[in-house]
Amino acid sequence: MNKKTVIIVVSAVVIIVSIIAVIYVFRSPDTNGITSKPDYVMPSDSLVAYFDKNEDAANKLYNEKIIQVKGIVAEITKDSASYNIVLRDNNATEGVSCTTGSDQLEKAKSVAIGKIVEIKGICFGKNLIDVSLNKCAIVEK
């Protein structure tokens, strides 16, 4: 292999690696709802109760785990990329706030206040009033 060929091959490798690195760093974050099986399944009010009882212990147990909760829809808000669905029992002041993945917009349209739904998402902890689940997927039965 002559010197010219070596330079061309090395240059090509450097360019390809650079392109892959740029794509990796600037890739769009995955915003879809999770598809994996849940680590825990429980009623939404039980998850809230665990955090109320001992937030530190609940953080250790549930944070960054996939939780599937079932509860009554109390609030629905929508932005351009996701729905936020709050599951909260009647007369309760705290609930589970579920931010859906961007692929859940169609499914979320069928969710209505007062209906009972099952949703799974990644637990980020409790934020003053609600336990937060993210990248949520609506579970179809």
């Binding site: 974050p29 932005d79 002041t93 902890g125 934020n127 609600d130």
Partner: protein, 186 residues
């Protein structure tokens, strides 16, 4: 206890509760944006799930932020931010609890912009520091917009950056807070 006294007590309890709820404002869609600017790279993140209460009678202000809820322009920044710098598995929440000074000088019945000073305890990465920052309250018909821009020193909150990437993370981070409060209904 005679019926008349019972009615008075129930009435007082009702009106005290009613009055209290009218003073409390709330949001759970507040925004915190931060920018770490260095010559090597700009890293910015936005959290649109900030929960906050404001009591316009006492000036009490509290907000909570789940650190994991920050979204980044650079996908790889999220991993480093949560795992290496903020250690969200140990410290999932950042919070502020404080007071708006001289809140009684603001006429909340009259729309308008008011410059304010907020003082209180800011907890980030498990470290609590007393802070005092300037901000603005924009009183509107049925909502209050609160905003503030300030800087946070990562050393103050014991956030350590590996030597290898030290030049890529700013020591002083610019932070912008925007909260749109509505009357708290519960």
């Amino acid at each position: 206890m005679c019926l008349k006294i019972k009615i008075i007590i129930i009435g007082l309890l009702f009106f005290s509760q009613f009055g209290f709820s009218q003073n409390r404002y709330f949001t759970k869609t507040g925004t915190i944006y931060f920018m770490s600017h260095t010559d090597a790279i700009d890293i910015d993140g936005t959290n649109k799930q900030v929960v906050s209460f404001l009591d316009i009678k006492t000036g009490e202000m509290v907000f909570g932020v789940l650190v994991k809820s920050f979204e980044f322009t650079l996908a790889t920044a999220s991993e480093h931010f949560n795992e290496t710098y903020m250690e969200t598995h140990l410290y999932p929440k950042a919070s502020f609890k404080g007071i708006i000074k001289d809140i009684q000088k603001i006429d909340f019945s009259k729309p308008g912009k008011y410059d304010v000073v907020v003082e209180g305890s800011l907890t980030i990465h498990g470290v609590t520091k007393e802070v005092s920052e300037k901000g603005t309250l924009d009183v509107k018909e049925n909502e209050i917009e609160a905003s503030s821009s300030f800087q946070v020193s990562i050393n103050d909150y014991k956030i350590t950056v590996p030597k290898l990437v030290e030049a890529r993370v700013a020591k002083i981070v610019d932070v912008k807070v925007n909260l749109t409060y509505k009357p708290y209904q519960k």
